[in-house]
């Protein structure tokens, strides 16, 4: 089936509704978990895990990353590497033996 055919688009529309419901459900989960008053480490891990699932749904389905071209994946892979470096930088001093 051609991805731009009316049938394919109608099928996609149904997946948008499913994702919308999932995002609303995960928002409730995020808020509910925060009321448990967990330790900071556990709260951060759970909150970020739920946020990553939500972000994946938005990027994969709404932004059509599930079926995108290789060049876009390559661009995003490079971006992801630099982003990870940015996130590691603030904690990198803990790897420094002098600080230890």
């Amino acid at each position: 089936m051609d991805a731009s055919s009316p049938e394919a688009i109608k099928k996609q529309v149904r997946s948008y509704i499913v994702v919308f419901v999932a995002l609303m459900g995960l928002t409730i989960v995020t808020v509910a978990v925060s009321t448990f008053h967990l330790s900071v480490a556990a709260a951060v891990i759970i909150a970020l895990a739920v946020a990553i699932v939500k972000a994946s749904l938005v990027a994969g389905v709404f932004m059509h990353l599930i079926s995108e071209k290789k060049l876009i994946y390559a661009t995003l892979a490079l971006t992801a590497i630099f982003f990870i470096v940015l996130m590691i930088l603030p904690t990198s001093h803990q790897l420094d033996p002098i600080v230890q």
């Binding site: 688009i9 925060s34 970020l48 946020a51 060049l71 996130m87 603030p90």
Partner: protein, 196 residues
């Protein structure tokens, strides 16, 4: 001169030019917000004490704004799907709803800022509020940018539908990529600033 590859994919990249352009722009946006998130982590782990977001900020109002922004993401993608199904009226409806959601988000944010200022809580008050106002302020500017682009595509820009429907559909798709990114940033901002 005609702008090349506005409708059909360029053979070597496999995508039309605007899509690649917007994805490259979004890559730079990831680094922009990434730098601010990185600063947040550095400030938080470097401070002796850090307040819980919910003790200073109103998480209920932020939850409402999260629902508004997620809804706007759905209406945005539905506006593109409507064009793919050649239903221009529905496109206008969904794009109109997207713009409306963006205005609601900004109005709530303005109310939130106003409440903080009313309690003499400013960016200069403490490090938490400094990073809170910086990141949410930058995100708010992105929402305003999205309103401009989407309003153009809803209003005067929509004339293109009559002359070049495929090109117009592609424009809405890439505007959608930007708008979903704005939603995506908020998905992380919400728990990080309000709930942790």
């Amino acid at each position: 001169m005609e702008i090349p590859y506005t409708i059909h994919p360029r053979p070597d990249t496999g995508v039309y030019n605007a899509k690649l352009g917007v994805w490259l722009f979004l890559a730079s946006e990831v680094m922009l917000f990434g730098a601010l998130f990185s600063s947040y982590v550095l400030l938080r782990i470097g401070s002796d004490s850090w307040p819980h977001g919910y003790s200073i900020l109103d998480w209920k109002i932020a939850t409402f704004n999260t629902v508004v922004l997620i809804s706007s993401s759905v209406t945005m993608v539905m506006s593109w799907a409507s064009l793919m199904l050649k239903d221009f009226k529905k496109y206008k409806l969904y794009m109109g709803l997207t713009i409306l959601c963006a205005f609601i988000f900004l109005a709530v944010k303005a109310f939130e800022y106003n409440t903080k200022f009313g309690h003499h809580l400013y960016p200069s008050t403490n490090t938490f509020l400094a990073i809170y106002f910086t990141i949410t302020g930058l995100h708010g500017l992105h929402v305003i940018g999205g309103i401009f682009v989407n309003s153009y595509l809803w209003g005067p820009g929509s004339k293109m539908w009559k002359t070049q429907p495929e090109r117009f559909t592609n424009r809405v798709e890439v505007a959608g990529l930007y708008w979903h990114f704005v939603d995506l940033v908020w998905i992380f901002l919400f728990p990080v600033l309000y709930l942790l």
